[in-house]
Amino acid sequence: MARPAAIRGLSLSGPLSRLAAVSLGTAALLLAGCSSGGVRENGPLGNGGDPGGLCVPVPVGGVFTYGITTFTNTGSSVAVMDNVALADPDGTRLLAAYIVPITGNDIYGVRDGFPPDRNLPASVDWARHTRADGTRIPPSPAFFKFENLLVVIKSLQPIATATGIDVYYREAGQRYHFRSPIVFLLTAGTCKLNWNRGLKT
C-alpha cells in the first residue's frame, strides 16, 4: 500500500537528512559567527538546544503543547522576542507561543491541549506567563534561572510534521535567531517509530 507523502518524507533520506543539513548549516553559521540578512545566530539566548525528535499521538484537529525548549539571557541587556514559528510545517499549525519563567528544575514538558495543564510542577510559574511575541527577557541573574518556551501545535492531517521551532529576537540592537532542532511527527495512530529504522508508524 502506498504510504502518505508525509510518511515517505520521514524516511532516513528525507527529513533526517534535511534535519542534518539544517542542523549542520545552522551550526556552521553559528560556529562561524556568521549572519544572514542582519540576523545573527548564536546570540545571548543560546542555540535552541540539542537535536532530537518527538512523536506525539494527536487526532486530526487535536492540540498539544510542547514545552521542552529552555533558555537564559546571557547578554547584558533585555532581549525582546519578535517571532516564534514552526520550521517546515507540513500539516501542523502553530496556534500560540508562550514564555513561562521556571523557578526550579522541572519544566512544562509535553502535554495534551492548551496550557496550563492541571498538574503542573511548582517550578513552572504559569502565573507569570506571557505571549511570546514582545516578551522582554532580562539578563539572567543566576545560571539556573531559565525561561521555558511553550508552543501550542495543532494537527491538520493524519500524519503531520515540522522540523523545528524558529525563534527570532533582538538584543542590544542586534537581531538573532535560533532553531530548536526537534523533528515533530504527529500521528493519528500510535507512536512506534524508531528514527534509525525509517520512522515507521
Binding site: G25, A28, G53, N105, D106, G109, L193, W195
Partner: protein, 389 residues
C-alpha cells in the same frame, strides 16, 4: 635500515609505513640533541613566541605546560601533529611505524604558556577522516622530560565555504585547552644523528575490550527504552600516556568509529543499562614523546550491562503515548568507560558527534517525567532517565 628516513608527508597518496628494527629501550639518553632542534615543517605555521602573543591564523590550541612537580615549564618545545586518518592507522601492524604530519610548533613562555595557530586549515584536510574529524597531538619536551596530549577537532565549512575547526562536542569553535604535564620520558632513535620527531611506532595491540557507548534507564514501569548505535557513530575514548613509573595517565581523547550498526534491543522499564561494544587499543612509541596508548581499531560486539539507578533531577513531563528521541551530540562521559587490563589503564568514554546514536523512550501506559542528569531534557541533559529521582 629502518626505512623511516625516507618517509614523507602524505598528501592523500599512499603512505609508506616502515618496519622498525631498532630497539628503543636504551634510547633515552640523547636528551641534548633535541634542544634547539627545529624540524622542517611541511606547512606554514605560526608559533607562539615566548612572549605568548596570540599567533596569526586559526588558533587551534593554547594552554600551559607543567613539569612533573606542577611548576611552569618555561622554554618547552611544543610540536603539534595531525594524526593520519583511520584508514592509515588501523591497518598498521606491530613493528611498523609512520610519520605524523607536523602542523605547528611553539616554545612555552616563562609561565609555561603556549598557543598554536594554523595559518591555513587546509593542511589538516589531508589527515581528516570521512566525518571531518582530525586527531591532533601535542608533544612537549624540555630537558629529559616529555608530555603528550591528544584531542580531536572537526573540520566544517561555513555557509561562505570558509573552512573552520570545531572542538570536541561540536558546540564551540574556540581553541582547545591543552594543558600538558611532563610526566614521561622522550624516546630517541640511537641510530639517527638527530631524533626523527613525529615518527610513531606501533609496539603492540591489546585484545578487544568492552567500552561503554550509551546509557538508558527508567525507575518506573510502563515505558520502553532503546539505545541505537549506528554504523560510523563515533565515541571518544581516553588516551593514556606512560608516566615515569610506567603507569598510564589519561591525557586527552581519541574518537573511534564503528563500521557496523549494533543492534541493541528495545527494553522495558525499571532498569538502567550500560550499552557496550569492543575496541582494541594499541601501544605506541613516538620519538620525542612518551609512550602512549589509544584506540587501535573498532572490534565489534554488543553487550548490555545492568547498573544502579542514575540520579537525574532536571525533569519534563511527557504525555502518554509520546515517544521522544535524543541524539547524543554531547552524551555524558563515563569515567571508567573502558579498561585495558594488559597495562592497567582505565579510560573515559563518551559518545557524541553524530546523529547516528540515539536514545529513545516510549511512554506506553502513562505520561512520565523524563529527567536529565545535567540539564532539562531539551538542553544538554547528558544522560536521560525516565522517572524523577
Amino acid at each position: 635500515m629502518t626505512g623511516c628516513d625516507a618517509l614523507s608527508h602524505h598528501t592523500g597518496a599512499r603512505r609508506r609505513v616502515c618496519t622498525v628494527r631498532r630497539k628503543f629501550s636504551s634510547a633515552i639518553g640523547i636528551v641534548g640533541l633535541v634542544l634547539g632542534l627545529v624540524v622542517g615543517l611541511a606547512s606554514p605555521l605560526a608559533s607562539a613566541a615566548a612572549s605568548h602573543k596570540t599567533p596569526a591564523g586559526a588558533l587551534i590550541t593554547q594552554g600551559r605546560v607543567l613539569d612533573v612537580n606542577g611548576q611552569a615549564a618555561a622554554g618547552a618545545r611544543i610540536r603539534l601533529y595531525a594524526e593520519p586518518p583511520r584508514t592509515v592507522m588501523s591497518p598498521m601492524q606491530p613493528g611498523q611505524a609512520i610519520r605524523f604530519r607536523q602542523v605547528g610548533s611553539a616554545v612555552t613562555s616563562a609561565s609555561g604558556r603556549h598557543a598554536i595557530a594554523i595559518r591555513s586549515l587546509g593542511v589538516l584536510q589531508a589527515e581528516a577522516n570521512p566525518d571531518g574529524i582530525v586527531n591532533l597531538e601535542i608533544t612537549a619536551m624540555v630537558g629529559s622530560r616529555s608530555g603528550l596530549f591528544v584531542f580531536p577537532v572537526q573540520l566544517m565549512h561555513a555557509a561562505d565555504g570558509t573552512l573552520f575547526a570545531v572542538s570536541s562536542g561540536a558546540r564551540r569553535s574556540g581553541p582547545v585547552a591543552a594543558n600538558i604535564r611532563l610526566i614521561g620520558l622522550p624516546r630517541f632513535s640511537p641510530a639517527q644523528p638527530a631524533p626523527q620527531c613525529g615518527i610513531t611506532h606501533l609496539l603492540r595491540t591489546s585484545r578487544p575490550h568492552w567500552a561503554v557507548v550509551g546509557q538508558t534507564g527508567a525507575i518506573v514501569g510502563g515505558i520502553n527504552q532503546q539505545f541505537t548505535y549506528e554504523k560510523d557513530q563515533s565515541s571518544n575514548l581516553g588516551i593514556g600516556v606512560q608516566q615515569l613509573n610506567g603507569k598510564f595517565s589519561e591525557q586527552g581523547t581519541f574518537p573511534s568509529s564503528t563500521n557496523q550498526t549494533i543492534p541493541f534491543p528495545k527494553l522495558g522499564g525499571y532498569i538502567t543499562k550500560n550499552y557496550k561494544t569492543e575496541f582494541q587499543y594499541g601501544l605506541y612509541a613516538q620519538e620525542c614523546a612518551p609512550n602512549f596508548t589509544q584506540v587501535y581499531r573498532y572490534w565489534g560486539g554488543a553487550q548490555i550491562q545492568s547498573i544502579g539507578a542514575i540520579e537525574a533531577t532536571y525533569c519534563a513531563f511527557y504525555a502518554k503515548g509520546t515517544a521522544p528521541i535524543w541524539q547524543t551530540t554531547r552524551a555524558a562521559t563515563v569515567g571508567a568507560g573502558i579498561g585495558i587490563s594488559e597495562i592497567g589503564f582505565s579510560a573515559s568514554a563518551q559518545t557524541g558527534w553524530s546523529e547516528s546514536a540515539s536514545v529513545q523512550y516510549w511512554m506506553v501506559k502513562a505520561g512520565q517525567d523524563v529527567c536529565g542528569t545535567h540539564g532539562p531534557p531539551g538542553s544538554d541533559p547528558r544522560i536521560v532517565i525516565v522517572g524523577a529521582s
